[in-house]
Symmetry: C2
Subunit: 192 residues, 2 copies
């Protein structure tokens, strides 16, 4: 099943609407921007808006969904000889490289999300989907026990999160390097 023309149009429309919505939120605040205003700014009806996005929050979090699938694949597809943790590391670093070009959008979103508890919940949920994706890659592609897979995934996402916060805040180096540094710090922390 290739990708139909309709699907392609839908994706482009989603991306465009997202772009304008984030801009509006950044300017007038999240609560201060109604879905009607977003719809108007994006030249669609409110009906269509809710057909494209599950809810208002989805306007902010629908961006990196493509990467989720590739995360799962990257874990499962790592060299077969690698032990689980090493495979996970390499996959995470690879994803980090793909996240890099999104820095500006992520920064803007971060600023909007920070002030709204409901959005921070949603962000947390998003991270759990990352955990699930990594875990599934380990379990399905490498036969890692389910509990161990989930635990490992949580570890790597925790490092990712810390590294990304550092990176967005303007820390030195690019995201993959910061992530590697965080991952390397892990064993030492458990001993101390």
């Amino acid at each position: 099943m290739e990708e139909t023309a309709a699907q392609r149009r839908r994706r482009r429309l989603r991306a465009e609407v997202t772009r304008r919505a984030v801009a509006l939120f950044a300017e007038h605040g999240y609560a201060g921007t109604s879905t009607e205003q977003v719809a108007a700014a994006a030249d669609v009806s409110r009906s269509t808006l809710f057909r494209l996005f599950a809810d208002k929050e989805d306007l902010l979090f629908g961006l990196e969904d493509d990467l989720l699938a590739s995360a799962r694949a990257a874990v499962a597809g790592a060299p077969a000889g690698l032990p689980p943790w090493a495979a996970l590391r390499s996959a995470a670093v690879a994803i980090a490289g793909q996240v890099a070009p999104l820095r500006d959008v992520l920064l803007t979103r971060e600023r909007v999300v920070a002030g709204v508890p409901a959005l921070r919940s949603r962000a947390a949920a998003k991270l759990r989907r990352w955990e699930a994706a990594f875990a599934e890659g380990l379990v399905a592609g490498r036969g890692v026990p389910e509990q161990d897979g989930l635990l490992l995934a949580k570890l790597v996402v925790a490092c990712f999160e810390v590294a990304q916060a550092d990176w967005l805040a303007g820390g030195p180096g690019d995201l993959p390097d910061l992530l590697t540094a965080a991952l390397d710090r892990l064993p030492g922390l458990l001993e101390a």
Copy 2:
């Protein structure tokens, strides 16, 4: 500042309303239960309901808030000689002991939350508040660097979560033991 009579009454009222709300949600589903029905079942007005709880979701998640503060204290108050990770471990195991008697309520809640994405977001956010509490205990009470504290907190919460899932699902042993087991498994996972 002792606790005023008004504060005590408010807490008891909150607990009672929560009890009835969870029961309603379990019976008719979360979406299928309006805040008006909850208010009626709890013999308060809708106004009062929203004065007691921030929002509808809070009816499910306001239960363990007391434990959050005690988590922070438990970390900061662990024996001064203990290294950070060991202090964190002992605090977490202590908290696990206090969670144990809530098993039934937690199970009911789990069943309601499982089917509603928005509630799962909220649950994720709740876990992050635990992370923040543990991290703050480490940073404020023991001078651990902020990033390390957050990372360690995430590790311990990840273990807690895995252990609690196991415990609620009927795994063998009580929560503190399961938590200890998960914590012990951590170093091995990083090497393999």
